[in-house]
Each structure stands twice: as structure tokens, then as C-alpha cells.
């Protein structure tokens, strides 16, 4: 299982209804994207971090490990904004206002990433997928996504073990050997995926499979208090941002 999903399964908000957490996490993400980066994204990031590390109980170490990946993309994505091409001063020069634009982008992307991480760290994907049918997603698509989700972990685990075996047999010592091993890994993943699907099919056929994958979904009631608190937090963030935007330089 991947670290974020593993953490979500043991999170203290696990039993909460996914739509509550979606409203909070995606609401914060939307605020981060739509509000002015200064001071909006800073306020949203602060609020999201407070919720993540406080009420949601996400371990700071887990959060940092997950957050450093999008943070790296945010930083590298902001660097091109520092430069301009084809100005009167030269072919590539520093862009006027580039640092401000790059800084604003960095604030917006990192703040928005935290909002999605809030949802991901508190809601296992297996809790979300079966409920998508009620949201209007066609059942066959949800079934395919469920099978994808289950088989992915098995495949990732198998590939990790195959990789170790290849390394132990000196399969990664030279560039040519590494390419051969990599190709073998890709082909094995394909063969294993289809083998798993055939075995799943045989197993389900024996249990009267009629084309619908029925799974147990943990019962959860939508908390109006949680939704009201979410609404208050989001409204507060918007209001404070608009007030501060006028008063701050």
C-alpha cells in the first residue's frame, strides 16, 4: 500500500463521510487557487496545516514526506517565471516582476497541494470509489477503477520484489543490463496484471459474478456540524483575505 493511503486508513477522521472531507479539502484548494496569493494563499496554507496537524492528526513526518514531492514541482515550475525571452536587453534576461510572479505561484501551488493532501491523508481511495456511483459516475467505470486500485498494489509489490531479485543477480550493473531488466520488469507487470485479472475472473465466476462488483462500504452519516464548521472556515478565510488585501501593502 502507498504511504498516503496507508496513513488514511488509520487516520482519526477515517470514519467521517468522504463528502465532509471533500468539502473541506477541496474547498481549501479552491480558495488557494481563486483567492489572491498574498495574503490569501498564505492564510489558506496556515489554516490547512493547522487542520492537518491538529484535528486531523496527521503525523508531521508523513506530511513532509508527501508534501516535498509537490513542493519540488512547485519550485521547479516557478523558476521559468523569473526569466523572459527576447527582450531589448538580451535573448534571455531576468523578467521584470518575475520574482513576484514566481513567489505568488509558489504560494498558490503549495497551498493548493496542502488542501488535496488534507483529503488524501484522511480518506482512503477505497472509501471514495464505491460512493462515486451515487454521484453519477457510471458503475462500469467505478468497477474498473476499483479493480485498478486493488491490482495496482499487488503489482507494485511484485515489481519491487522483482527489482530486488534483478539487482541481486547483477541485472543493474551495466547500462545494457539495466535496460534489459527494465524491459523485463515492464513485460512481467503486463503478464502479471492479466494473470491476476484471469484468476480474479475465475474466482468471481465461481461466486456467481454477474458483472457488478459488490463491495461493503463503511456506514457514515454526513455531519451537519462538520459541514457548518467547514463553511464558516472557508467564509472566514475569504473575508479575512479580502479585508487584509486592502490594508496590507
Amino acid at each position: 500500500m502507498l504511504p498516503i493511503d496507508a496513513a488514511a486508513h488509520s487516520n482519526r477522521w477515517r470514519r467521517r463521510h468522504p463528502s465532509e472531507k471533500a468539502a473541506l479539502g477541496f474547498g481549501l484548494t479552491l480558495c488557494a487557487v481563486c483567492l489572491p496569493p498574498w495574503p490569501g494563499a498564505v492564510l489558506v496554507a496556515a489554516a490547512t496545516l493547522t487542520v492537518l496537524l491538529g484535528p486531523a492528526g496527521v503525523a508531521p513526518r508523513h506530511l513532509w514526506r508527501a508534501f516535498r514531492i509537490p513542493l519540488g514541482f512547485c519550485v521547479t515550475g516557478a523558476i521559468p517565471l523569473l526569466f523572459q525571452v527576447g527582450g531589448p536587453e538580451g535573448f534571455v534576461t531576468f523578467a521584470p516582476g518575475g520574482p513576484v510572479r514566481a513567489g505568488e505561484l509558489l504560494l498558490r501551488t503549495s497551498s493548493a497541494s496542502l488542501g488535496v493532501l488534507l483529503f488524501a491523508f484522511t480518506t482512503p481511495v477505497s472509501d471514495v470509489l464505491p460512493r462515486l456511483v451515487r454521484a453519477g459516475v457510471p458503475a462500469p467505470v467505478v468497477d474498473v477503477a476499483l479493480v485498478m486500485y486493488r491490482i495496482s498494489f499487488l503489482l507494485l509489490d511484485a515489481m519491487s520484489r522483482i527489482r530486488q531479485a534483478q539487482a541481486a543477480r547483477l541485472g543493474l550493473t551495466t547500462r545494457a543490463a539495466a535496460w534489459r531488466s527494465l524491459a523485463g520488469l515492464g513485460a512481467t507487470a503486463f503478464v502479471r496484471a492479466f494473470d491476476r485479472a484471469q484468476r480474479l475472473q475465475a474466482g468471481l465466476a465461481g461466486r456467481g459474478y454477474d458483472g457488478t462488483l459488490r463491495v461493503l462500504v463503511p456506514e457514515a452519516v454526513v455531519s451537519r456540524r462538520f459541514l457548518a464548521a467547514t463553511g464558516a472556515l472557508l467564509t472566514g478565510l475569504v473575508a479575512v483575505t479580502l479585508v487584509l488585501e486592502r490594508s496590507l501593502p
Binding site: V116, A183, A197
Partner: protein
């Protein structure tokens, strides 16, 4: 290359979502039809999607000495056809955003357009065209994967240039800027992905001829399928 969460302005994010929607809806309808006609194909399609997801976790040795991962869109489009790939790619991108913090939900539409629509359709188009001219399977597979990878990055460059035009030279300057940054790493990576896809396909022809025949990549005698166009249009 996934565009990170929150990277695009809200209007651009929404516009790319709208642009991707018809292709994804078309794919969903094709997938739903397929599953209703053959319920057991749910598992096969799920396995195919899992394969695509796992493929993106493979690390390719890059020419510069660093590593990157294949997009998997070329191989996916050749094996499963572009409409199905649009759906599987969308689910894969969703999983990557939620499980790996790679990509994003507000940028999902833009990422779907480049990685699950433009790349697969371009790669499959080149593959299909070459097969029509009786170019050997492995050569066609190489160019299919190469073009799929390259088109994905070109479309991403266009998306970024539209969102962040250069202060001095506008859209074209920004396109050159983002395109040249990607070109340093992505042209070698596209070649690498093409080569890797050929190696994978060679192994599959040896070990999984039955599956490739079922998917329409090979006929019983190991020749290309003439039904590939029909399947893609469907």
C-alpha cells in the same frame, strides 16, 4: 510531466477540463458498452489500468544520468486504443494525484488532455499509419511511443505558455522557453521510452501472444490487425 496542483489559473484549469470532457465521455461510453457486452472485461480493463499506473512508476535511466518515468501512454494506446486510454489515463491521473501527490485535481483536465488524450491519439495515429504502410511492428511501436511521449510534453508546453505568457515576447516566447526546458530532458526521454516500449513489446510477443491477439495488436499469425482503425473509431 504533470502540471502541479494549483499551477494553472482557475479559468485555464476550467477550460482544459471542458476541452477534455468530450473525449473522456466518449471513452466512458465505449468502456460502458464494452463492459455491458462482456462483463468479464471489467477485470481485464482494470488490469490494463493497473498496468498503466504501475508503468508510470518505472524509472528510466536518462541520457543525462538522472532518472525519469515513462508516460506509458504510447504503449497503452497501442494495446488498449485511445478512447479506452482516455478513461484509464484519467483514473490513473486521479490516483496519482491522490495517492502519490503527483499532478493535481484542479489541473486534472489539463493533465488528462496532454497525457490521456493528445499523447495517446498522436502516438496511436503514427503507429496505425506506419502499420498501414507495412512498416515492421517494432519500428511502428517505437515511433508510436516516441510521438506519444513527445506530443504529451509539447501539449504541456502549450498549456503552460498559454497560462504564463512571456512578459516580453508573449505566448510564442513562453512556448519557446517551456519547450526548450522540456526539450533538454524530454527528447532523450522520448527516445528512451520508445526503446523501452519496443523491448516490452518484444517480450510480450514472445510471452503473451494470446493477450495481444485478444487486444487486436496481433492476428493469429502474428501480423497486424486490420481492425485497429475500426476499434479506435468505435
Amino acid at each position: 510531466m504533470h502540471i502541479a496542483e494549483g499551477y494553472l489559473p482557475p479559468l485555464h484549469a476550467a477550460a482544459w477540463g471542458v476541452a477534455s470532457a468530450p473525449f473522456v465521455v466518449h471513452g466512458v461510453r465505449a468502456l460502458t458498452r464494452e463492459v455491458k457486452a462482456n462483463p468479464e472485461s471489467t477485470l481485464l480493463l482494470g488490469a490494463s489500468g493497473a498496468f498503466t499506473f504501475v508503468l508510470s512508476a518505472l524509472k528510466i535511466p536518462s541520457v543525462t544520468g538522472s532518472c525519469s518515468h515513462p508516460t506509458g501512454t504510447g504503449l497503452g494506446a497501442i494495446l488498449f486504443r485511445p478512447p479506452i486510454m482516455a478513461v484509464l489515463g484519467t483514473i490513473t491521473l486521479l490516483f496519482q494525484a491522490l495517492l502519490l501527490a503527483h499532478g493535481g485535481l484542479t489541473t486534472l483536465g489539463a493533465n488528462v488532455f496532454s497525457m490521456a488524450i493528445a499523447g495517446p491519439w498522436a502516438g496511436f495515429g503514427v503507429y496505425w499509419l506506419l502499420r498501414r504502410f507495412d512498416v515492421p511492428l517494432m519500428v511502428s511501436v517505437f515511433f508510436g511511443a516516441f510521438v506519444a511521449d513527445l506530443v504529451t510534453y509539447c501539449v504541456t508546453s502549450v498549456q503552460l505558455a498559454l497560462a504564463f505568457p512571456d512578459p516580453s515576447s508573449g505566448f510564442l516566447g513562453a512556448l519557446g522557453k517551456f519547450g526548450s526546458i522540456f526539450a533538454v530532458t524530454q527528447i532523450p526521454l522520448a527516445v528512451s521510452e520508445g526503446l523501452l516500449t519496443v523491448l516490452v513489446m518484444r517480450l510480450l510477443v514472445k510471452s503473451s501472444k494470446g493477450e495481444l491477439t485478444r487486444l487486436g495488436v496481433l492476428l493469429q499469425g502474428g501480423r497486424k490487425s486490420d481492425t485497429t482503425t475500426e476499434a479506435a473509431v468505435r
